[in-house]
């Protein structure tokens, strides 16, 4: 399993011997290899003739490293060392309690349009810069999670509204679900993306727009099968009336550089939420999730939170993205139970996931695939590439790997894990690594890199090829392009 060809640096915490020893216990993990789909769109995996990775998670170092790979955007020596001295439990506490550092405002103070003319690429660069420099990485990781959950897209929504939505995800990243749901529902980007802002339930002869009502239940909270079509229609009525916020003012700007032609555009002085227009709302009672009443936004959210499927649905989604593509039912139940008991505290949800026994079980080792963003940011961090270069590479390669920030493929977000792997995306990952290394002013030493970044757990082929590498560039190429580094 593990190569004898590589030469482990002296003093590495995980010696080759440790790894080989781990192989014995990993044999048990073979039983966990099974055929499944983790998402309707995730690839079917073929278990035949494959052994599992030997798990080093018996060691605290490996557990801390895995936590950092999953709860942040990768391992750096500066992040790993404090984690090792605090231990696993205290590392969880410290990343969860760090709060969410606000990124610098994307709207410059002198901009008379207050960001109304932002471009999508401005927004992508701004967020990437913050991801690379933040002192509160869990908040960014969770902002990224919510980006793939409460989806909206630049394909349909202006960059300014997408910017505001990103600020909301971050501020509420580990807040209460009820508050998050309320703010996300009346967020101008969401009101636009899923059309609630155009709905109107005042005329009984004309059906309101169902788009948001359906996805709120199917994809954001309950999951398909936990509600009836009649609930979609009821929620569409109950939620109608929220519209995108009216502009605070209009500003004349040049819209055609050649002719100098001007036109007025809408300008908002600051981040706004949706506005309620009672004349577009439904005036009456509906029966929603088995309760009849004059439900408005708050009534709908109350019913969703009263439904037992909500905690389970989110617990499963978090488990699939942070623990294992096919989490055990017991794990999901236990996380859901703690989540619901905490009055749907999203920080507790994550704490329950990180402390669940399955998180550190042998079968969860390398059970998740890094997303393109996680892969690129962690690779760039490993070779200490500059922020500016990294940002341009991420923007250039993201689409080829199947991920453009602020442009999810559809309302379900990106299919995780196996969904990231295809011939085309793997090629883009490899070419990225090559480009990344070519762009470095000098390639750092790769000494100890396989221990820091791969826990010293290498497949035979990776170890053999690494042993043959005769330069730091080549060693980094093998490490960063390896299946080991593509997993987390």
């Amino acid at each position: 399993m593990t190569g004898g060809g590589g030469s482990a640096p002296r003093g590495a915490l995980l010696s080759r011997r440790t790894v080989l020893g781990g192989a014995a216990s990993a044999a048990v993990g073979l039983g966990a290899v099974k055929l499944y789909v983790s998402h309707p769109w995730t690839a079917v995996l073929d278990p035949a003739g494959r052994s599992g990775w030997p798990s080093p998670l018996g060691s605290e170092r490996a557990r801390v490293a895995q936590l950092l790979r999953r709860a942040t955007f990768g391992i750096t020596p500066t992040a790993l060392e404090p984690g090792l001295s605090h231990g696993y439990q205290r590392t969880i506490d410290s990343i969860l309690e760090a709060g969410a550092a606000e990124p610098p405002s994307l709207v410059s103070p002198g901009d008379p349009t207050r960001g109304a003319r932002l471009e999508g690429s401005d927004l992508q660069r701004w967020w990437l810069r913050h991801i690379l420099s933040t002192q509160t990485p869990l908040a960014e990781r969770m902002t990224y999670f919510w980006h793939g959950h409460f989806t909206s897209s630049l394909d349909k929504v202006d960059a300014l509204f997408m910017y505001w939505q990103n600020l909301t995800w971050r501020r509420r990243s580990v807040d209460k679900l009820g508050r998050m749901l309320r703010e996300v529902t009346i967020d101008p980007a969401m009101l636009t993306y899923l059309d609630l802002g155009t709905s109107d339930a005042s005329d009984p002869a004309q059906p309101p727009n169902e788009n948001y009502a359906r996805e709120l239940m199917e994809l954001f909270t309950l999951g398909a099968g936990s509600y009836r079509e009649a609930d979609v229609k009821a929620a569409a009525r109950a939620l109608a009336g929220w519209t995108t916020p009216p502009a605070d003012t209009q500003v004349e700007i040049v819209v055609d550089e050649k002719t100098g032609a001007k036109a007025p555009i809408d300008v908002w002085y600051e981040q706004r939420r949706g506005a309620f227009a009672p004349e577009m709302a439904y005036d009456g009672a509906v029966s929603y999730l088995n309760r009849r009443g004059r439900h408005g936004l708050d009534g709908v959210i109350e019913q969703i939170l009263a439904h037992p499927a909500t905690a389970k649905f989110l617990a499963r989604k978090v488990a699939i993205q942070f623990i294992s593509p096919a989490p055990g039912e017991e794990t999901v139940q236990q996380i859901a139970g703690r989540f619901r008991a905490s009055d749907y505290d999203l920080g507790e949800l994550m704490r329950a996931a990180f402390t669940s026994p399955e998180f550190s079980a042998a079968g969860s080792y390398r059970a998740l695939v890094k997303s393109p963003l996680e892969f690129m940011v962690s690779a760039a961090g490993a070779v200490r590439a500059g922020a500016k270069e990294t940002i341009e590479l991420v923007l250039g390669y993201g689409e080829g790997m199947g991920e453009s920030l602020f442009q999810p493929p559809n309302v379900a977000g990106w299919p995780p894990n196996g969904g990231w792997i295809s011939p085309s995306t793997m090629l883009a990952r490899f070419n990225f690594v090559s480009d990344l290394l070519d762009g470095l002013p000098s390639v750092p030493s790769a000494r100890g890199a396989e221990d820091l970044h791969l826990d010293g757990v290498l497949s035979n082929s990776t170890a053999k090829r690494l042993a043959k590498a005769d330069s730091d560039r080549e060693r980094w190429l093998v490490i960063l392009a390896s299946p080991e580094f593509n997993l987390k």
Partner: protein, 425 residues
């Protein structure tokens, strides 16, 4: 080959996995256990397993993602109910439609497809759907992709076709998705390899030493993603080599089709690549392309017309390109979408998720006609159309008559035939 043989092979594999468990637990020498996997059981990439399809027929599945509005694609011209249900959307659609028959017309932006109808190369199957329809995009996409309305099947219907009937080709491009980075669910199957080419121009390794390094690293990757990784890497290496052999240099734009330079038309871009793969005999048989944006809950009028225009431009150009190179007789195009849309329009000038809708089939193999029954707008189920043709009847006709693959084995049953393809005499 028979279905029972497939069954035996699958059982054999499962047995091996269990046997592996027994070795592993006792021995602790997992490395040795892994190396001892008999070749016959190891995943064989590109190796012949059994005889398969002998024909050179090509299928292009065109996904209209988001739920295409069937009533604005094949427009009922004489049904007054349509105007009652759609005061905003119906009038223009009916007035401008391009008639196929006195009672049915194509969307006014489907002019090139209408011309193909005139030359006998278009079939429309009305009312296609499945029992107990789901109005969820993702559930319904999965139903169409797997060919299983009970939602138990995990493997794509084209993926199953590949593994049961095509693997003996030993070719990386037999199944191919163009213009995307992800393997479409319809082609997905753990037993088959599928090429995924987003863009021919960027489909190559940045450096030869990069390719040799990943070639050395991937091959026996452990873990649940091992086969997925290794197959992807083997496929990309083979595909890149094949593209380099078969396709003109990317800089040589003179030989690229010129039928759409609108970069907004992603379907045209994908079909241009598909045309190249077919014309240059790269061995492609089952192709999948996608046009996205059909989830028209809001101001459908302009969006849907634009999408119809994209579809028309892409399909028309693709057909002409193939015909020019003498390949059109082999190629069948079929549209699919997870569902149609609600007959009654909503307050936003759009339509919500619906059920049954027409499937459009295009190409020389088609027997022109409108099949199935026209949509019955007076008898709706909870506001939605009742299906009259099971979507698997379409798959069956395509598999049996066009591809000459074992439809019964692939679809797991027989469905009422809909004979929209020519029979070779």
């Amino acid at each position: 080959m028979s279905g029972s043989e497939t069954g035996i092979e699958r059982i054999g594999r499962r047995d091996f996995t269990q046997a592996g468990l027994v070795f592993g637990v006792g021995a602790g020498a997992l490395a040795a256990g892994y190396a001892a996997v008999p070749d016959a059981f190891a995943r064989a990439i590109f190796t012949a397993r059994r005889d398969g399809v002998q024909s050179d027929a090509v299928l292009v599945m065109i996904q209209l993602a988001g739920g295409n509005d069937g009533l604005r694609t094949v427009v009922p011209l004489q049904d007054s109910n349509l105007h009652d249900l759609r005061p905003q959307l119906a009038g223009e659609a009916v007035d401008k439609a391009l008639p196929l028959t006195p009672s049915e017309g194509l969307n006014h932006n489907l002019g090139r497809i209408r011309k193909l109808w005139d030359s006998g190369k278009v079939a429309v199957v009305q009312g296609v759907g499945y029992p107990s329809p789901s109005l969820s995009h993702f559930e319904s996409i999965r139903v169409w992709e797997t060919g299983d309305p009970t939602r138990r099947q995990l493997r794509g219907w084209l993926g199953r076709a590949l593994s049961t009937s095509y693997d003996s080709y030993g070719h990386p491009l037999t199944g191919c998705a163009c213009g995307t980075t992800a393997t479409p669910g319809a082609l997905r199957d753990a037993d088959s390899t599928v090429a995924v080419i987003e863009n021919q121009l960027s489909y190559g390794f940045a450096a030869p030493e990069l390719e040799s390094a990943v070639g050395a690293v991937y091959g026996q990757t452990p873990g649940i993603y091992g086969a997925l990784f290794d197959t992807a890497v083997a496929t990309v290496r083979k595909t890149a080599a094949e593209l380099q052999r078969a396709l003109p240099a990317p800089s040589d734009t003179s030989v690229l089709p010129s039928y759409s330079n609108d970069t907004g038309n992603a379907l045209a871009q994908a079909l241009k690549l598909a045309a190249q793969l077919i014309i240059r005999e790269t061995g492609v048989r089952l192709l999948h392309v996608t046009l996205d944006g059909f989830d028209t809950h809001y101001t459908e009028l302009s969006y849907h017309d634009q999408l119809m225009g994209y579809l028309d431009e892409a399909v028309g150009g693709f057909y002409d390109e193939l015909a020019q190179h003498g390949k059109a007789s082999r190629v069948l195009m079929a549209t699919w979408s997870e569902f149609g849309r609600r007959p009654q329009e909503n307050v936003s000038g759009g339509t919500d998720h619906g059920t049954a809708a027409p499937v459009v089939l295009i190409g020389d193999p088609v027997k022109r006609g409108i099949y199935g029954r026209p949509p019955d707008l007076r008898h709706l189920d909870d506001g939605n159309l009742r299906y009259t043709v099971d979507f698997r009847s379409i798959y069956q006709e395509i598999l049996e008559v066009h591809l000459q693959a074992g439809a019964g084995e692939i679809l797991g049953g027989r469905f009422e035939p809909v004979r929209f393809l020519r029979r070779s005499s």
